[in-house]
């Protein structure tokens, strides 16, 4: 297990380097001179001398590779530069917003997991019935509705008409503010998990050991809960991990609608303001989070399923053919 963990950790290094290179290149190849952008926030037009001085200050005149290595060194030490709009350090600015986004994404993922797995399992067990059809339609709708449309419909129903829940805002951590954003964000993921669980349970239910369990005289509930679900949920674990990353992306939209003070809203605002350092910091942070969450799910998977760490752990992933 240690060996497997180490080999997986080592494999992250080139990917993270790639992500950092991407973030660096994007900010430096994007239209507009960073020095000029940094100075021209607000109304006044910077003079040529000011721009030249700023270029010197930001050391933009060095060759690209030199700047990349220096920038990477800064980033590793936790220095992602200053924002253009307020000239405050980027990392604390992002870090301040992270808890709200993690709270939202976690709530959405839990909601999607609980509903997705139960609906997927029930529709698989009652395959071919009306329940199964309803589940299929629900999953299709979830995959076809954008989160912002769900959000606006929910706001209309629960905040405008019924006046049960707040329209927007963080509400100092009041959980009632979390309900609508979390549902809006979870819908797409829930649809994915319904389909995945459904397919996975169906596949497992066809296995010999399920027939054995029935032959032992176990009732359907015991077979499904004790024998089928344990194995059927393995792929769900993996996909739930990747979905967490997707949720962080989707959070940008949902946070903007609900005025939720998270990273996603900050990034959308920074895009309007062309505040490149924040966008750049966000790419790095998102890449790091996504990669670590995937690693965590892989390791969790290996803990659950010994075939992975014993069979292929030593020489990387044997079942990897992508």
């Amino acid at each position: 297990m240690v060996r497997y963990t180490l080999s997986r950790l080592l494999a992250l290094v080139p990917v993270l380097l790639g992500v950092s290179l991407l973030a660096f290149l994007l900010a430096n190849l994007a239209p507009g001179d960073p020095a000029e952008l940094a100075l021209s926030q607000g109304d006044q037009e910077p003079t040529a001398a000011e721009i030249a001085a700023k270029r010197e200050e930001l050391r933009l005149n060095d060759p690209m590779p030199v700047r990349y290595v220096r920038w990477l060194g800064d980033v590793i030490r936790g220095d992602m530069g200053l924002t253009y709009t307020d000239s405050v350090p980027v990392l604390p600015e992002l870090a301040r917003r992270i808890p709200a986004t993690v709270k939202l994404a976690t709530a959405a993922l839990l909601l999607a997991l609980v509903l997705g797995v139960s609906i997927g399992t029930v529709t698989a067990v009652y395959r071919g019935t009306l329940l199964d059809e309803a589940g299929r339609v629900l999953a299709l709708l979830c995959a076809s509705l954008p989160s912002f449309a769900v959000a606006l419909i929910l706001i209309y129903a629960f905040a405008v008409i019924l006046r049960l829940l707040p329209v927007a805002g963080y509400g100092d951590g009041d959980l009632r503010h979390l309900i609508l954003p979390a549902i809006s964000l979870s819908v797409f993921t829930m649809g994915t998990l319904v389909r995945l669980t459904h397919a996975s349970v169906l596949e497992v239910m066809g296995q010999d050991y399920i027939r054995t369990a029935y032959a032992k005289g176990l009732n359907k509930l015991a077979v499904v809960l004790k024998h089928a679900l344990r194995n059927a949920l393995l792929p769900v674990v993996t996909v739930a991990g990747t979905q967490f990353g997707q949720l962080l992306g989707g959070a940008a939209i949902v946070e903007t609608i609900f005025a939720w003070p998270g990273v996603g809203k900050l990034v959308v605002e920074s895009i309007y303001a062309r505040d490149y350092p924040i966008i750049q910091g966000f790419v790095l942070l998102a890449g790091l989070t996504f990669v670590l969450v995937n690693l965590a799910t892989d390791l969790l998977y290996a803990v659950i399923d010994p075939r992975i760490r014993l069979g292929a752990g030593a020489q990387g992933r044997g079942d990897d053919h992508a």
Binding site: S7, R8, A11, L12, P14, V15, G18, V19, L21, L22, L26, P31, L140, L141, A143, S144, L145, P146, F148, A149, L152, I153, I155, Y156, V160, R195, L196, A199, S200, L234, P235, T238, T242, G245, L248, G249, G250, A252, I253, I257, V267, V268, I271, Y272, R274, Y276, I279, F282, A286, F290, V291, N294, L295, T297, D298, G316, R317, D320, H321, A322
Partner: protein, 306 residues
Amino acid sequence: MPSRVLPAAPASTETLQDEELFAVGEHSPWRAALRVLQADRAALGGLILLGLFVAIAIAAPLIAPYDPLAIHLSDKLQGPSARYPLGTDQLGRDLASRLIYGTRSTLGSAIPTTIGLLLIGLAIGTTAGYLGGWVDRVVVGSIDVLLALPRLILSLTLVGFLGPSLQSLLIAIIAVGWADHARIFRAATLAAREWEFVLAARALGASDLRIMARHILPNVIGPIVVLATLDLGHIILMISSLSFLGLGIQPPTPEWGAMLNDARTYLEHAPHLVLLPGLCILLSVLACNLLGDGLRAALDPRSRHR
């Protein structure tokens, strides 16, 4: 294969199904498609719905009652009436006309993007798979980096760096999306190289190009159509999401996502301004998903045994 960061797909995730589709080399995908449309009413419904949207997009100038940009301030925020079949928006523009032209801007950008994405993915994926060596390693490395970031986040940041516009949005979608396709086509090419009839063709002295065009392509065209259909749905969602945020198609051009954003403020008094564009997005994406799922099921060897 070097170890990858993304978890390998277990047997029943969709990713693996995508690749398994390509392993079927024997039967005609077109006949299969025809069969599924006869048997699967949902898929047929999807095809008809999608056809309807395409027809609306093409015939927009003929069927729209008004110029979608024409402002009638005295008639603003009206409900449906004989004069305005679906009512008017906050500037008194005819909602029906805006929805009809919205179909045009959405499909008009989504369909070319889907095709472009497929062609680029196909070119890069097959080249990498066929040539191998350092080309393959560079491509696989880039794919790993791109797939290490969520699609929406990457497109969002790309648009951020390029500056919000339709052009930036389409560039962003293609620049981010090709990795997924290239990965699938690369795997398919690697598999196709081992097919017996490809080996046989090679033994007969056929050139690489001929093998690709005559033997491999016809056998992967079905899965490509499935991918394209499902992708069209994703891209419609992506375009409307980013336009909703003001980062894609810019007002006053009618686009469903942007229209929803405009309508947010008037949610309380004119909910139809939100519901109808939302319904258009839902139906168009649903059409793609229904059709794509049906076709995928027809091509998936495992689903036929059920």
